[in-house]
């Protein structure tokens, strides 16, 4: 596929105008008739039980319709299984309003429903609830040495491989050794759009559920199981999502609440969370890691140990792949990886952009920098010397891996060779200047997905799939794929998503949507193409009578012979001649496991950053970033670049700002609002240069894409940390790097 009209072109977002004009509607913006409003009451205590709820006073307020709590929730599904969503980890999922027990601070304990939002909010603020508290544990530091190895309950979790070689002995024998601990605190996703659900109650008791989610089908399955609804009873719609970053991979409790209230009250109900309540569920877990590296005299890695311990809730064992990357990113024959969890009185953590890798690679890549210094090597040279041409965890070759090119092209663009390796050796005015670099790696995966296409007699193509758009560019990419394969102008394609009535697709996560849904759309378009050829051949005097599908192509609204383009039929005419109003086809795309099983499938990147630090005042600015990314084929350089720009900002944010601080007196997050949970503002962001090193890879999937939503943030936090060391000589091993750590 070298000559394309749309795929690989830098096109603007097709949903851009709808977003900037406000035509794009989000879950809490559907003003259905007769809407009433729910407001969630959150627990002020971290552990204990509710001893009394006195709702009488609140219920007496004119306009208050109901107060839902564990005391009056009807009989719902009994088994844990029914509360498990597609990405639930092992354990027993939290059931909102299930019983009197308090398991974490800010647990939703009641829903007040009223005629207006303001009234519901007020009523919630005066609702009398009494609690009995018991001692809570929220501090991971107290759980050192008490971790346990989790089971494989969660989809996508791969327990670390068993040790290989002789990691302990080789570490002891190594010429250079480092052994350090790396820490980052809890982080919350904080997408701009808060979680909200509008449950529209329809005649006959059916529901249209507008939900903020990264998977409409996931939300639908969840409420069907809990409330015993059929697929027809509850259609879930989610056309736009104002950011997800993983927070929408699991249905959040406002969905449960809105559906519960709608079914019980037989009314349309909206429940939206407050910014504070956005800190009441999943998060990137507080993680403690140790990395031990040993090298030989020539700078080759002799031994590598990486161990991680992170928090989970009492009720579920959240897992992510933190340490496995360390066994495959560099060539090393003696490796020991360990991964453990500790239970605390907090909500279950949840996948957050590049889950596991963002954590593990921060530790590994800072350790690699420390080792480069210990071994007297340039950090880039050190990585090149230990370049892995094969995935040693799986003992398989990579389907493609242009990380070496990322290193070289990134370094050249950045001007890495101008770096004086000595810490504190570079200055600009009174600022210390530091250059740092790091590597990233992420899975290239494909999931089963479906799509349906329908071409009408006026030449318009409708494409549908129940995937989601979380801002990554799905609308645009899928429009490109369909336009490409059926040779139609972009304007003729209407890609629709986020509706459970559409063909099934997985949750939008894991950077697999372009690969999964893209392949489904391609397959559906090809199936439609075959139908159109057959119909064209039935047309009078058809020039394509004897053509096989391989002999034809769709270009500029025509179906024509590849070798004799003059022999053509106008696609629209085919539909018209068929006598039907439209021609349809659908398809499901599955990963080709036989082909893929022989390879390790991954995207990589190399990040180079410059920091400037005013040492006296502890102020730090990331003045330049070059991020070189090898992620297969780039479907749209413009949307892909946006993804990587956003990723760099994420990485910077993780490095310098983000931390949800727990006050262990109360077992409660204290900076749970946008004013005090900091993310960068424009003034914090300077030059970001994105480079794509394209890879041709027909093993990952027929489109050759690896996904771009996550890999770009990897390496950023470590590269900044390494640059800080280079600038100041201070090795920081705990994020975020705020002023106090630089003094």
């Amino acid at each position: 596929m070298s000559n394309t009209n749309y795929i690989g072109k830098a096109l603007s977002r097709v949903d851009g105008p709808a977003k900037v004009t406000g035509a794009a509607k989000y879950a809490a913006e559907f003003n259905v008739p007769g809407l009433v409003y729910g407001y969630v009451v959150s627990s002020p205590v971290a552990k204990g039980k509710i001893t009394k709820i006195d709702a009488a006073e609140v219920l007496a307020l004119p306009g208050v319709l109901q107060v839902f709590s564990h005391e009056n929730v009807p009989m719902l599904a009994l088994l844990d299984r029914s509360y498990k969503d597609d990405v639930a980890p092992g354990g027993s999922p939290f059931r909102p309003l299930h019983d009197a027990e308090i398991k974490f601070s800010q647990q939703p304990v009641a829903l007040v429903v009223a005629d207006t939002f303001e009234l519901a909010r007020y009523a919630a603020s005066v609702l009398k609830i009494e609690y009995e508290t018991v001692a809570h544990e929220t501090d991971l530091e107290t759980k050192r040495g008490e971790g346990f190895e989790p089971g494989t309950g969660k989809t996508g979790f791969v327990p670390p491989p068993p040790p290989r070689g002789n990691p302990d002995k080789e570490f002891e024998n190594a010429v250079h050794r480092i052994d350090q601990e790396y820490v980052h605190g809890t982080q919350h996703h904080n997408p701009m759009e808060m979680f909200g659900t509008t449950a529209e109650y329809l005649d006959g008791g059916k529901l249209n559920v507008y939900d903020k989610t990264q998977g409409a089908l996931n939300s639908q399955r969840y409420i069907r199981q809990i409330f015993g609804l059929s697929k027809d009873d509850a259609r879930v719609i989610s056309k736009y999502t104002g950011g997800g970053f993983g927070s929408g991979l699991r249905p959040q409790y406002q969905l449960f609440m809105a559906v519960l209230a709608a079914l019980e009250l037989k009314k349309s109900v909206r429940v939206s969370l407050t910014r504070q309540q956005m800190f009441s569920f999943g998060h990137r877990p507080h993680t403690l890691q140790t990395v031990k590296l040993g090298t030989n005299a020539d700078g080759s890695l002799a031994a590598l140990h990486h161990h991680a311990l992170h928090e989970t809730s009492r009720f579920e064992d959240y897992t992510e792949n933190v340490v496995n990357w360390s066994g495959m990113l560099y060539q090393c024959d003696n490796v020991k990886l360990g991964y453990q969890l500790a239970k605390l009185d907090v909500y279950t953590p949840q996948d957050m952009r590049a889950p596991g890798a963002a954590t593990g690679l921060f530790a590994l890549e800072v350790a690699m920098d420390e080792m480069a210094y210990a071994a007297g090597l340039d950090p880039l040279e050190f990585r090149l010397r230990n370049y892995a041409d094969r995935d040693q965890n799986l003992d398989k070759p990579f389907s493609s891996k242009k990380l070496r090119e990322c290193y070289h092209e990134g370094a050249a663009k950045f001007g890495w060779e101008e770096r004086n390796p000595a810490p504190r050796s570079m200055r600009q005015g009174n600022m210390l200047v530091g250059y740092g670099m790091a590597t990233g790696v992420w899975d290239a995966s494909q999931q089963k997905a479906g799509a349906k296409v329908s071409l009408s007699a006026d030449g318009k193509l409708t494409v549908q799939s129940a995937t989601n758009e979380i801002g990554t560019g799905t609308y645009t990419i899928m429009t490109q794929v369909a336009a490409e394969y059926l040779g139609l102008p972009l304007e003729a394609v209407d890609f629709q998503l986020g509706d459970t009535d559409f063909p099934a697709a997985p949750v939008q996560g894991g950077s697999w949507t372009a690969a999964s849904v893209g392949t489904a759309v391609k397959n559906a378009c090809e199936a439609l193409g075959e139908k159109l050829l057959k119909l064209a051949q039935q047309m009078e005097g058809s020039p394509l009578k004897d053509a096989k599908f391989e002999d034809v192509e769709f270009v500029n609204g025509q179906l024509r012979l590849r070798l004799d383009p003059g022999q053509a039929v106008v696609v629209r005419d085919i539909v018209q001649a068929s006598g039907e109003t439209k021609v349809e086809a659908d398809a499901t795309a599955m990963p080709n496991l036989i082909k893929q099983k022989q390879y390790s499938l991954h995207a990589h990147n190399a990040v180079f950053v410059e920091v400037q630090i005013d040492e006296e005042l502890g102020t730090l600015h990331v003045t330049r970033v070059v991020n070189a990314v090898a992620a297969g084929r780039i479907m749209n350089p413009k949307t892909a670049r946006s993804q990587v720009l956003g990723s760099v900002v994420w990485g910077l944010s993780m490095a310098l700002m983000e931390e949800t601080v727990m006050d262990h007196q109360f077992g409660r997050y204290v900076n749970h609002n946008y004013a005090e949970y900091h993310i960068p503002v424009c003034a914090d962001i300077h030059d970001i240069d994105v480079l794509f090193v394209e890879e041709e890879d027909d093993i990952v999937n027929p489109l050759g894409v690896k996904g771009i939503g996550e890999v770009g943030m990897l390496g950023v936090a470590a590269a900044i940390t390494n640059a800080v060391y280079h600038a100041t000589g201070k090795r920081i091993r705990e994020l975020p790097i705020m002023i106090d750590k630089l003094l």
Partner: protein, 339 residues
């Protein structure tokens, strides 16, 4: 719903009269602080008096040759006012180092004096806080206090006053004009805000029936050698961890008169006149600045997470004085970037 009555005052006297009425009465100006606090249920007024129609929006010459800033002039109009920029650039810089353009367009000078602390616990009704609920205890002292005070703190409260503008006003020795039932009075800036003591529920000395009508800037000239240095966790749109307003009058390299106030360290904008005295008549050198900085933090007390502020305050004071001396209000391209 959290019901309240809403009325608009057309004259200062009427506003004062209404303010003394029964119930929890609050003025509302730009609303940028009050509305947030109402949404969080930290403030629950039963009566709101909108004072935006009062004729207090002017910035004009004061009788003593200084400048009078109307209480209802917005922070934006004040910062960009030609007289303020020319004669009191320290004030311009301080205002522009705060909040965001949108907020500064709404926020008024009067309201800025009254903005309440950003202590996490003050905002979270699930936690005890003496300032919000006298007698309930202070969560911050044994809790997470990274952003809180190191000077003039008490056993009941270690909150800081979050304003940037007020730090400059303190350094410039402004006065606050106040009208109450018994007429007008003028309050020195350092007497306007107060230390927490054992009544942290009171941020300032304004009486319940009073309104601020204007802020007066004296005629003294600090327009050449000044600096507003704000250190914070991101480049813009964050409150100060430490801020320093420094202003000097120099004769050659000798300091004729020096002013110094700090933000982010205490329950009030922290002007230290004893430290200022150490500037007077001294050469503008690192040595002098070091002595002054040491003096300012002499009685400082850290509470764990915020102990770093003591050292940071010293360094910031020295830097701000150095910048003021050099006539270079900001240290580098990144500081005080004011979008």
């Amino acid at each position: 719903m959290n019901s309240f009555t809403y009325t608009r005052a057309e004259a200062v006297e009427a506003a004062v009269r209404e303010k003394s009425a029964s119930g929890k009465v609050k003025f509302i100006a730009g609303g940028t602080n009050l509305l947030d606090l109402m949404k969080e249920n930290v403030e629950r007024p039963t009566r709101l008096i909108d004072i935006n129609r009062l004729p207090l929006t002017k910035i004009e010459a004061a009788p003593d040759g200084g400048l009078r800033l109307g209480a209802l002039a917005t922070n934006a109009d004040t910062a960009w006012n030609a007289e303020v920029e020319k004669r009191y650039p320290l004030l311009s810089q301080a205002i522009l180092a705060g909040a965001s353009p949108q907020l500064r367009n709404m926020a008024t000078n009067g309201g800025n004096l009254f903005q309440r602390t950003r202590c996490y616990y003050f905002y979270d009704l699930a936690t005890p806080c003496n300032k919000r609920e006298p007698g309930s205890g202070c969560s911050a002292i044994g809790g997470y206090n990274r952003i809180l005070g190191i000077l003039g703190t008490s056993e009941s409260c270690i909150a800081t006053h979050p304003s940037d503008m007020c730090v400059a006003l303190a350094a410039l020795a402004a006065t606050v004009r106040v009208t109450g039932k018994n007429g007008e009075r003028v309050v020195k800036f350092e007497d306007f805000h107060r230390l927490p003591g054992d009544t942290p529920q009171f941020d300032n000395t304004l009486q319940p029936d009073e309104i601020v009508t204007a802020i007066d800037l004296p005629a003294e000239d600090f327009s050449r050698h000044f600096s507003y240095l704000k250190l914070r966790d991101r480049t813009s749109y964050a409150f100060a961890l430490i801020s320093v307003a420094a202003a000097l009058q120099l004769e050659g390299n000798t300091i004729k008169e020096g002013r110094l106030a700090l933000g982010g360290v205490a329950h009030k904008p922290w002007r230290d006149t004893t430290a200022e005295a150490l500037l007077k008549g001294q050469p503008a050198t690192e040595e002098t600045f070091r002595r002054v900085a040491a003096k300012v933090v002499e009685g400082a007390k850290g509470y764990g997470h915020n102990t770093f502020k003591i050292e940071l305050a010293k360094r910031a004071i020295m830097r701000a004085l150095k910048q003021a001396t050099e006539g270079m209000p900001v240290a580098d391209a990144f500081q005080n970037s004011n979008p």
